[in-house]
């Protein structure tokens, strides 16, 4: 497949300079290298600027409700394991409204790849704090600054047993594209938190702010993402230095494997017209 196969003609509704553009570029690049037909790829998204992304690529798209991406994505994968399922969601969608689904879908471990556009602010509703906003961050609602402890998605995901936990940065599109590819190749639930500046509402966590801080976690080749305790430590690093890359990875049996869905015909291909219930009906006699 070529990158042009994934081109969509939809007009892009993001602000000029939005961090989402870098993610879109990275996603398309990854898709072009997957050797999968667009019809076999499904994007599930919720509500927010991140969730518009599926309209800007030529793949199947289920753009559902705010926070409800993961149940839809997991079940679609269960119904048809031949689909490559990706989720594009935001920090509000995935960590706020959909927090409970994140917890339990990490536990469920279906083979889906979740890309969280994390700009630490609510864009579509115009500038309120998000679960990942830095403490002290001032908004029209949090006038004296955010007083809640930020959610630490990578730490949380590792603690919950996710098998692929990563962070990308939208300006590092090559690196991000590689990360997404690794996430897709990983069997099971993959979480990729992507730092993505909101040029309209987040005046603190800007391109400049992120660019000064991010570094590739395995630049010198000494970082071992399979060491869980080290990964846990690394996932907590935030402030002057912010690591990007694969923070934690572990092979785990997927939901589909445990359920026996990875063999035989996919559920969607089963004939259902003539299901014979005579046998079980007789059990009620």
């Amino acid at each position: 497949m070529d990158i042009s196969d994934f081109k969509s003609n939809e007009e892009i509704a993001w602000c000029p300079g939005c961090g989402n553009f870098g993610i879109l570029t990275a996603v398309k690049k990854t898709l072009s290298q997957l050797a999968r037909h667009p019809k076999d790829i499904l994007f599930v998204s919720g509500i927010g600027q991140a969730s518009k992304l599926p309209h800007y690529v030529n793949c199947n798209c289920f753009n559902g409700l705010h926070g409800r991406t993961l149940p839809v994505a997991s079940a679609a994968k269960i119904a048809n394991r031949n689909l490559t399922v990706l989720v594009t969601t935001g920090d509000g969608d995935c960590y706020g409204e959909g927090g409970n689904h994140l917890i339990h879908n990490i536990r469920r471990n279906t083979d889906i790849t979740v890309i969280v556009h994390d700009n630490q602010v609510y864009g579509l509703t115009k500038g309120q704090s998000s679960p990942t906003s830095d403490p002290g961050y001032v908004t029209k609602i949090q006038e004296e600054g955010v007083i809640l402890e930020p959610l630490h998605p990578l730490e949380m995901a590792i603690a919950l047993g996710a098998g692929f936990v990563a962070r990308g940065y939208s300006l590092e599109t090559e690196h991000l594209s590689w990360l997404i590819g690794e996430g897709i190749r990983h069997k099971g639930f993959s979480l990729i938190d992507v730092l993505q500046p909101c040029v309209s509402f987040n005046k603190k966590n800007t391109y400049e702010w992120y660019s000064k801080r991010v570094y590739k976690v395995n630049d010198n080749g000494s970082y071992d993402p399979e060491n869980k305790m080290a990964a846990y430590e690394k996932s907590h690093e935030w402030g002057d230095r912010i690591p990007i890359g694969i923070i934690y990875r572990a092979e785990k049996e997927t939901y589909e494997e445990k359920r026996g869905l990875s063999q035989g015909i996919p559920l969607v291909d089963e004939q259902i017209e003539d299901v014979d219930i005579k046998g079980i009906l007789s059990e009620f006699v």
Partner: protein, 572 residues
């Protein structure tokens, strides 16, 4: 007195009343009786007071009676609690010595069942089997049925366990035959000729219907009284290759079935009113994305947690209006186990045909009540798929998921089957499924999802059931589980002729038909397990007709045949 008995077994939660109830249902059916049984459970795991009620008769049964002819008290507290709800001449079986009951009462029949249980089985657990034998003895069925019931109930267990239970039951049976002087409870067996027929409850029928309809994905969060649907479908999941997933909450449950259905698999969830409250957002999503789903709402009393283990019909208006925005839906309210089975299948077909949510509205009474039924006529079932077949999919290019059509139904393609991609959106969208702000497009899409689909749906509404209507003095009106009690009242009313109209589907409302049925009725009374008279209100809204009165019950308990009869006389 007709040839029927009401039997009650009562004790603490955890004493095994459910097991004994199931054994008795089987025993009396095999002896040729029609049965109707229901459990009255408290929302607790141990202690309190639970009871299993069983009616047996030579005629088909559809409901319960208030008072019992034979009560077996398995603990001391049950004696005082249930003494007052006996019929004249009824007997209350108790273990005087064990319960330390000194008072005398004409109804008391002393059976030392604790001693018998310990003597035959080695522990008090065997009182259940002793009680089975006692009841069979009182009713006077042949002892072979007792043995048969024990064999079936404990099938698969150790020889020793089976033998001990049989011994316990036989000791109970023999004790009654030698000590009970009265023959008042001997009723004629053999009314059912073919005893090789099923006994099941409403939830069982839903599961069988769903499996036959090709349900391949079931996701739910446990909530009484819907939970046994998940348990029973899970029991058969392997055999039929169905994925049953316990979701993290009801919001996830409905979104999961939407995801699976979008991917092309028939999917269902079930819950009670409280769980459905969480699903409402997803219901609207299914409507907007035009994804077929089947949702069972098994009602229980509310607001909020209400009576978790009891019954109500107070969510009719809720399910009719649930979901933000305007869209077509189908709401079924079957009245019997047979109807539940066939309606569940229909709900899957209709949901897929119109690409809408279909709701099956039941309640605890229908969900948990057991009846002997005729074996379903499986030949009349037709499962039709309303998707672009895999074969045809190969030719589909430039696909528009929401293509405008006369019927409002766009041909539905399955992702990865067609050569094109599919866009689905919860935002207002174009025919291609892309987000739009266009006013004209918005108007047309609302008409597609609401008017056009509704108009087709209205053509295939389940017809109201009409019973004993000719020259009826009183016409009862109901939906869902009240079918049973209306049917028995109608069959047995003597001073006035009572007929009834029952709606197995409440939406789209069969307005023209109902207006025709009721316009010449002398006196119409709605019979509802709610406080608002919700069906009467719906009738007035849709037809302009007003009922003459409503018989309402909102105490968490189902109507009883005698209770409804009394209320009708007063209203009447």
């Amino acid at each position: 007195m007709t040839n029927e008995l009401t039997i009650k077994i009562t004790g603490e939660a955890g004493q095994g009343i459910q097991t004994i109830g199931a054994a008795l249902c089987r025993l009396f059916k095999n002896a040729g009786f029609h049965i109707f049984a229901n459990q009255d459970l408290m929302s607790r795991i141990r202690g309190g007071n639970n009871f299993f009620q069983l009616r047996i008769s030579d005629k088909p049964l559809f409901a319960l009676r208030q008072k019992s002819d034979i009560t077996v008290a398995l603990d001391k507290a049950s004696v005082a609690l249930h003494k007052s709800s006996m019929t004249d001449g009824g007997i209350l079986v108790l273990d005087r010595k064990k319960f330390n009951v000194i008072e005398e009462d004409n109804a008391f029949f002393d059976v030392p069942f604790y001693d018998m249980a310990v003597r035959t089985g080695g522990s008090a657990l065997f009182i259940n089997s002793v009680s089975c034998g006692v009841l069979a003895g009182i009713v006077g069925v042949e002892s072979s049925y007792v043995e048969q019931a024990m064999n079936a109930t404990f099938a698969g267990k150790d020889e020793d366990v089976i033998r001990k239970n049989k011994d316990a039951a036989c000791v109970g049976y023999d004790f009654v035959r030698s000590n009970l002087k009265r023959d008042a409870f001997r009723i004629k067996a053999g009314a059912i000729k073919d005893t090789n027929t099923p006994i099941m409850n409403g939830n069982d029928a839903i599961v069988l219907g769903a499996i036959r309809a090709g349900c391949k994905f079931y996701s739910a969060y446990p909530m009484s009284p819907s939970t046994s649907i998940m348990e029973v479908i899970a029991r058969y999941a392997k055999k039929f290759n169905i994925v049953v997933e316990q979701a993290e909450d009801e919001i996830a449950a409905i979104n999961m079935i939407i995801g699976a259905s979008f991917a092309g698999v028939r999917s269902m969830t079930a819950t009670a009113g409280g769980g459905f409250a969480l699903m409402v957002e997803g219901l609207s999503l299914a409507a907007m994305t035009e994804t077929p789903i089947v949702v069972v709402v098994a009602q229980r009393p509310a607001p909020a947690t209400g009576f978790p283990t009891r019954t109500a019909q107070a969510d009719l208006e809720f399910v009719l209006h649930a979901g933000h925005g305007e869209f077509a839906r189908a709401v079924y309210a079957p009245g019997t186990i047979e109807e539940l089975f066939f309606v569940t299948i229909k709900a899957f077909n209709v949901a897929e045909k119109y690409q809408i949510p279909a709701i099956i509205l039941t309640d605890q009474h229908l969900a948990d009540s057991y009846r002997n039924i005729e074996t379903f006529d499986l030949n009349k079932i037709k499962i039709q798929r309303y998707i672009i077949s895999k074969e045809d999919s190969k030719r589909i290019k430039n696909y528009k998921r929401y293509q405008f059509t006369e019927s409002g139904i766009s041909p539905r393609a399955i992702p990865s089957w067609i050569e094109d991609v599919i866009y689905v959106d919860s935002d207002e969208h174009t025919e291609e499924g892309h987000i739009t702000e266009d006013a004209e497009m918005g108007r047309k899409m609302v008409e597609k999802r609401f008017y056009k689909k509704f108009s087709g749906l209205s053509q295939e509404v389940e017809k109201p059931t009409v019973y004993n209507m000719e020259r009826a003095d009183i016409v009862l009106l109901g939906f869902g589980s009240t079918y049973g009690v209306m049917r028995e009242v109608s069959d047995t009313a003597t001073d006035k002729k009572v007929g009834f109209v029952h709606l197995p589907q409440v939406w789209p409302f069969p307005a023209i038909e109902m207006a025709g049925l009721l316009k010449n009725a002398k006196r119409v009374l709605s019979v509802e397990n709610n406080a608002g008279g919700q069906l009467a209100r719906l009738l007035r809204r849709e037809t302009g007709l007003q009922v003459n009165g409503s018989v309402l019950k909102y105490d968490g308990r189902p109507f009883h045949v005698d209770g409804l009869m009394d209320r009708i006389k007063k209203e009447g």
